[in-house]
Every structure is written in C-alpha cells, then in structure tokens.
Amino acid sequence: MSVLKRHFDNRNDLIAYVKELAPWAEGDASKILGGQRECKKRLTALDAIKYGKTRNYGNGSVSMLSPYISHGVITLNEVRNHVVKDSNDQKSIETFIRELGWRDFWSRFAENNKCFLWNDVEDYKTGYASDDYQEEVPEDILVGDTGIACIDAFIGDLVNTGYVHNHARMYLASYIVHFRQVKWQAGARWFLSHLLDGDVASNNFSWQWIASTFSNKPYFFNLENVDRYFNGIVDTTPSRNRVLDASYPTLHNRLFPNLELQNG
C-alpha cells in the first residue's frame, strides 16, 4: 500500500505518471480534461434552448457533460436544477431534460434487469437471428480503416478523444450491426473500451435500441442523412462513402432482405 502523488507540474507529467501506474492501458490521453472545474465550465456554457434546436447536428449545442455525469462529478439532478432555474418556459427546455431522462430510464431498467445488460432484451427485428451476426468487430473498424470516410472520422473521434456525438454514435453502431452484421455486444464492448463516458447501461441499451433487440425496428441511415447533419465536419463526398450512398428503400432491401421489400 502506498499513497499516490497529488501534485504535478503539468498535464504531461500527470499522463506519464498514470501510464507508469497502468502500463497495460491502451492508447493515449484525451484532450478532454477531467475535473470539477472543467465540468462547471461546460455547465455554464450550456444553452438548453439552443440544444433543443441543434442537438442532432455535429456542430450543435450539445453539453459534452457525459464524461462528468458518468463519473459522478455532477448528478442528473444538479444538471436539471441548473437548467430549470433559468427557465420559465418548460417547452423550450423539454428536449434537453428529456435526454437526461434517457440516462435515468436506462439505469432504472438495468437495475431491475441485470440479465439483459449483455443479452438481447427481445429478438432482432431485422429478419435475422442473433446467431447470424459475427462475434467480433472486424479489424478494419477497430483501426478506423473501413474506406468509408465519415465512418473512419467518427472512429477517429472515439479512439482519440473518447467522446463521440450522439448522432455519430448512432451511425457507428448502425454501421457495425446492420451494414457489417456484427453482434451488438461486440460493438458495445469496443465502445466501452474507449468512451470517457462509458456506462454499461446507457451504452448497451443504446446499442440494443439500434440493433432492434430493445426497440420496435432497426435504426439505419444513409449518406444523405450524414451530409445533412455533419456537412463540413466529416467528409461526405459520395465517392468516399459509396456504401452509404443509396436511398432508404434501397438500403432497407439490401440490409434486411428477409423483411418485406420496400419500394423506392
């Protein structure tokens, strides 16, 4: 037993110290800073009204509070109290408060259904059975070299910073489960090994929501959607994102051929 150091001259010294403590830990440090002060800054900068209008956009006014919430630096209650104290119009902050509710919802469900954290809550609604999906995330995804420019950029965010925008998490999870037919559990494990906000309940049930094992239908997307929300943030040139460049009915028929065909 020894008492560890609490004072460092700079962040690089701290990083080197942690690396020495945990030589097995993979990757490098994120540029996202830990700490109560940093959390406070983000809370002060939060604009819950603007959030409601822009949250789906890559450059939208999202809070980036999740790493702090997941580590209990701040609670959902404190975030909510901060937002409601400045508002006299419930409608304008509803989207933000509802998103906080998603975290509460997943954690409640997990508490009563531990067995579903790593098992399908329901069957896949994709026309495939669980056994039809691969057990491991393929190597090209792990290293961010899928050849699909926007997907590789989102993987870069995950691996380098440990933070990915919610919409990009949805694209990544959908790409892995539906375009590459990988079990959601494999993708969820991979996310947890990188996300700064990694939380088994929020993460795994979100993966199940995308996969359709905890929702009424699979979530999928096309390049037009990525372009609409992430134009100028990631490369959405069709020639560099061919797999995604199709209409919804075409993709639906390609990804879920056992389901009823859709006309487009």
Binding site: G35, R80, E111, H194
Partner: protein
C-alpha cells in the same frame, strides 16, 4: 480524528456527497486498484480523466488492492456513495463481507418508484415528466 472512512470510487468523483450537516468526521480515500481497473479494461484516456478529477478532491489516493487496504483500516464503518454499476456492485458485496457499509444514495432525478418497470422510453417519460422539470424533482419520494 476521523471516525468514518469515505470510499470515493470512480463513479462518484465529487465533493459534498450529502455529507453536509452530518456530525461525524470523515477520512476520504480513493483506492487506485490496478486489478479492478484492468478488469474494467479502462483506456489510458479514461484513467487520466479519473486521476485528473481525483486531484481536485480532498482525499488521499491509495495504491493497492481494495479489500486488502480496507482490511488494514481500523475503522469498522465504511461509507460508500451507491452506484448501480454492476462491477462496483460486485465490489460492494465483497466489501460488505469484511466491513459494515453505509451507502449514500444519489439525489434522484424524478419522483418515480424504482421498482416500476417501463419497457419503452415513452411510457417512462409520460410519468417522469411530471417531476422532471421541478427543482430536485420535487424532492423525489
């Protein structure tokens, strides 16, 4: 002299922790448990984030195995912020075998019975929204 030990784990890295107003004095520690962290497969990104956050808290960071360290402490009562995280819950049960544990619960978000189960978010939200917009969720029942 502190008469209770407050064990701050990586899912409750904050001051306050509802200790205000309590008469006992606490000695706060975080145990940097290599084996535990390795089992969680935490990346260096996450470990640095945790350490950086710990540096702002008034506590000692002790290196070693959680159970061994707690065993060495003279204090019988350990106070732990509760977490629903499975890995932590497993650790809590191990600690309960060697010490008396008192859990601090996190302030709730909405006033809803935790045992009522909602299988779809919209059903949860229909109930939750009644208190979700209130300061302290109407102090949740």
């Amino acid at each position: 002299m502190a008469n209770k030990l407050l064990l701050i784990h990586e899912k409750a890295l904050r001051f306050g922790l509802d200790l205000r107003g309590k008469s006992e004095s606490f000695r706060a520690i975080h145990i940097w448990d290599d084996e535990y962290y390795r089992m969680q497969k935490y990346s260096l990104k996450r470990l640095v984030f945790i350490y950086e956050t710990l540096l702002e808290l008034p506590l000692e960071i002790i290196h070693g195995n959680t159970l061994d360290i707690l065993m060495e402490q003279n204090l019988d009562h350990i106070v732990i912020p509760y977490s629903g995280d499975e890995a932590l819950k497993n650790l809590f049960s191990e600690i309960e075998k060697i010490k008396t544990v008192h859990y601090l619960s996190e302030a709730c978000f909405v006033n809803l019975d935790r045992t009522v189960e909602f299988k779809r978010f919209f059903k949860y939200w229909n109930q939750a929204k009644k208190t979700a917009f209130l300061n302290n969720g109407d102090r949740c029942a």
